[in-house]
Symmetry: C2
Subunit: 354 residues, 2 copies
Amino acid sequence: MSAARKPTLAVVGATGAVGTVMLGILSSREDVWGEIRLIASPRSAGRRLVVRGEEIEVIALSEEAFEGVDVAMFDVPDEVSAQWAPIAAAKGAVAVDNSGAFRMDPDVPLVVPEVNAHAARVRPRGIISNPNCTTLSMIVAMGALHAEFGLTELIVSSYQAASGAGQPGIDTLREQLTKVAGSNLGTQPGDVRRAVGDFGPFPAPLALNVVPWAGSLKEDGWSSEELKVRNESRKILGLPDLRVTATCVRVPVITTHSLAVHARFENEVTVERAHEILGSAPGVVVSDNPAEGEFPTPADVVGTDPTWVGRVRRSLDDPQALELFVCGDNLRKGAALNTAQIAEVVAAELTAAG
Amino acid sequence: MSAARKPTLAVVGATGAVGTVMLGILSSREDVWGEIRLIASPRSAGRRLVVRGEEIEVIALSEEAFEGVDVAMFDVPDEVSAQWAPIAAAKGAVAVDNSGAFRMDPDVPLVVPEVNAHAARVRPRGIISNPNCTTLSMIVAMGALHAEFGLTELIVSSYQAASGAGQPGIDTLREQLTKVAGSNLGTQPGDVRRAVGDFGPFPAPLALNVVPWAGSLKEDGWSSEELKVRNESRKILGLPDLRVTATCVRVPVITTHSLAVHARFENEVTVERAHEILGSAPGVVVSDNPAEGEFPTPADVVGTDPTWVGRVRRSLDDPQALELFVCGDNLRKGAALNTAQIAEVVAAELTAAG
């Protein structure tokens, strides 16, 4: 790439839930890109979408679509990424993949720029993975605390939004809400189940309910989402033996995942020092003054970039453990924003290399 | 009391959210009571409510109202119980109190019949306390596991229903739902906050949101609800040094609290043995087959009596710890049902004493 030219970016999956947020993010961040090419399934080809104030026609996914692309972001299902990210890489692009297809591949770095930007430089397959949205919703805050106190254990319970299951998740929750609003439902066993009809991508009704399941069934009763939180946290933090336990639960929120986190450290902790660390960590905002009603909630965090942390308490039984409540927009930092940040790290490297 | 006479029961707070459920429960359980007297604030006096298929006129709370009462249930705010439960006791009734006024009083037993029915017999003040609804939603299951494995630590995150804040909580959520249904709210910071207007008893919007707060602010950033889970679990289980950490979060569900529980034991555990213990424990139902979509959710559990347990997993890092997801109807086992069960224990004692 010539030093004068800005790199070319391809957005694969430009018309999906994450892709839509991505176009907004690309339009609002510092403009490091030359051409931005929008790619989607043949079904969506020909649609015109606005990015950086400019209408661009969506082109169909094909080998030729990656011609001349420097960085290709993938916001598509696992199987599409598994097939096409290596093709993009073979065409010379650095693929930044937001699917689960490559995250645990030892030859693919799993990157959160605030925590392990350095890892993005070593990419034997030409692919960099973006973590799962649930892991991403807490990991920037955990990385900052780990750097000071030395993390030894995470026990987390999630409160995951409908949009973690993509646009069908959003649509399902919205439709269910219209069916339960104005009713007296939610007081008799199964009344909501019978009233909402379609569960969409969820295994139970989501309106007026919480559903202790996300993803697919893995060994010993764990869900894929719970194992992702475990395995990805270990890989990002570079702590292969970190003790991590997650229980993943879907809640009737459109967008923004929350997590209640019990974090144990090698050293004694104080709330004051935790506040200082988190308050000065890039990408983290502390909102922690319950006396004034200040703590993060999805309704306030949605649409924002940072990881919000509140309810910081030192465990009453354990001076080496903190309790925290963390919120992050799962479509922004949890997906599109982190992907954009990784792509910018690569763009800076390519531009510097000239 | 003469052996021939069935004991007289007073229900104080008969017109509230818990009181209403109580009348249904009294109508459906084995009929151990003679007269049932309904008592409420002077404002509600004169209303006629149905219990055991019979209309009864509500009378105003007064000293005379407890004349001839053997057992008086209190489903009223803390300050009303604090004043009136001792008056009922002085009039010779056994007060069974569902408020927080006496729970941690060393001279007042805190009773869950499946776990510590024996404690109900020793009541120096003539008062027995019913635990907080969040503690009650898990404690029957935890008591059963403790009896086998020896509990050493609980780390719990709650998913608490609106009705935990009484009828105003239910009304607030219902009203907020009508305002967000059919909208595109929940995608921009504060859009839900601005749209719903009144937060009712909650410190933030509850529709399309989760709120990491329940109760009042106590020392070091803990909420009163979180400390109740800790202190009451210890007292009920008779384990004053049990390590207990809770993070209490309100979710947009009408009724039924859920808890994600990390439970650590003195001995190694297996999922199989945990299933056996829970499956044979009185008042517990196991629903744990994710392959078939079987796990408890509030929408299915609401209106039922047992504690439902699912998602049982052995911690991957710790053979002495289990992860569980537990649901219990907070107005039934979490309040009215447990109060009724305590009252029945007392009734049996009084009847046997003759």
